[in-house]
Amino acid sequence: MSTVRVLVGTRKGAFILTSDATRQTWEVDGPHFAGWEVYHMKASPVDPQRIYASQTSDWFGQIIQRSNDGGKTWEQPGTPPGEASVGEDGMPLAESNKFVYDTSTGSGKPLTTHQWYDGTPHPWEFKRVWHLEPSLQDPDTVYAGVEDAALFRSSDGGENWQELAGLRGHGTGKDWMPGAGGMCLHTIVLDPNDEQRMFAAISAAGAFRSLDGGKTWRPINKGLVSNTIPDPTAEVGHCVHRIDMHPSLPNVLYMQKHWDVMRSDDGGDSWTEVSGDLPSDFGFPIAVHAHEPETIYVVPIKSDSEHYPPEGKLRVYRSRGGGNDWEALTNGLPQENCYVNVLRDAMCVDSLESCGIYFGTTGGQVYCSADSGDNWHAIVRDLPAVLSVEVQVIA
């Protein structure tokens, strides 16, 4: 029987939850990296024992961790415990924690400032890695979305990182501005049919697409309307919270924007709103069912001023028609006095025949549905605030 492994990043460490395919009884392992913020953990789809983790701290900065045994042991890439980590010249063999923006003239587009909250130019300052997206083909290749917003890639298992500077440098970067949560690149979507085709989303700049493996980029925000910026239909400036895509329909993208749930049928060239009858179209995550490319999930949040579910009822909403018509999924979820939030990286689906849906809350609960959202149970209830949830199915 398959094993299901859920990777949970929290404000105070990482946890690994495991079960068999029934997904009813769980073992909880952790905390790993106790006391540190773990923004994201994700495993390589090529080598499921290879997991990357972003461990971060306002005190001590960014640490990249890697496991080669499914999360039992961890190391900083290039710095294995007990092995020499400096070469004969005394220089470090790897710089796994070093994320340096490309300001070289060689890139052709040196870019040194973006807009600050007051509209003045502000230098790019690296703060942390929000999201790690392993390659779909190579376990040693992994992408990192960082704050201040930029995209990095490592092709040696996280030992060294190089910026894909064409994203910041394509022309609109100087106009990007942070949202309240910082200016972060939080979403990286790789097209399994063509890894040269990739998408990224930035708060609060918008969505971007590359067709050449990340070398060049263009904004794809036509159709987005954001009343929180001076020009609501501007080319950039939109606070996109999350994008997802089903592998069988790579031209169909779903987006949870700050406000509005959106859909594109042309690979992001244009977007239409599909919020329909949701009780609120504000929210953070959005996820697509593993086997039904038109079945999508969101977690409505009351507003950007009140980051909790409407009416104190924690409800996942499912649309089986790609948006507009939504049904509330409540069985097993608290329907009174619930005032948690579900963050953008904290929802995912598994690939089992009966698709599992998972999400974590800022109240420390991780919920699972083993039947596409019809019924829910809490795997754990009292973790630190959950930042991210990813799931693996291991044969």
Partner: protein, 98 residues
């Protein structure tokens, strides 16, 4: 040898005791001490001095001989008591509660 006392999270990262001793080539400065520490414990690279600014991370402080030397330039020599190992250099994380 320079004795350095580390805060909890850096001890965890380095898998070391609270106090470690490192050989620091002369002149014994804060920066030379941190580099010696990073060479011995590579998992600490970038955690004390920011990779980008080359400066002390804002929420860390350096204490020596009952003095706060955090604002002393990193290239300045440490007090003789520290460079000789009679007194430790303390690396301290800022306290925050709530």
């Amino acid at each position: 040898m320079v004795r350095v006392q580390l805060p909890f999270h850096l001890r965890t990262l380095a898998a070391c005791d609270e106090e470690v001793a490192v050989e620091v080539p002369a002149p014994v400065t804060l920066l030379a001490t941190i580099r010696a520490l990073e060479n011995r414990f590579p998992t600490l690279r970038g955690t004390i001095v920011d990779y980008h600014t080359g400066q002390r991370r804002p929420k860390l402080r350096f204490f020596a001989c009952a003095e706060d030397i955090s604002l002393t330039p990193l290239q300045h020599a440490l007090p003789d008591e520290v460079s000789s190992g009679r007194e430790p250099l303390l690396i301290v994380g800022a306290i925050s509660g709530g």
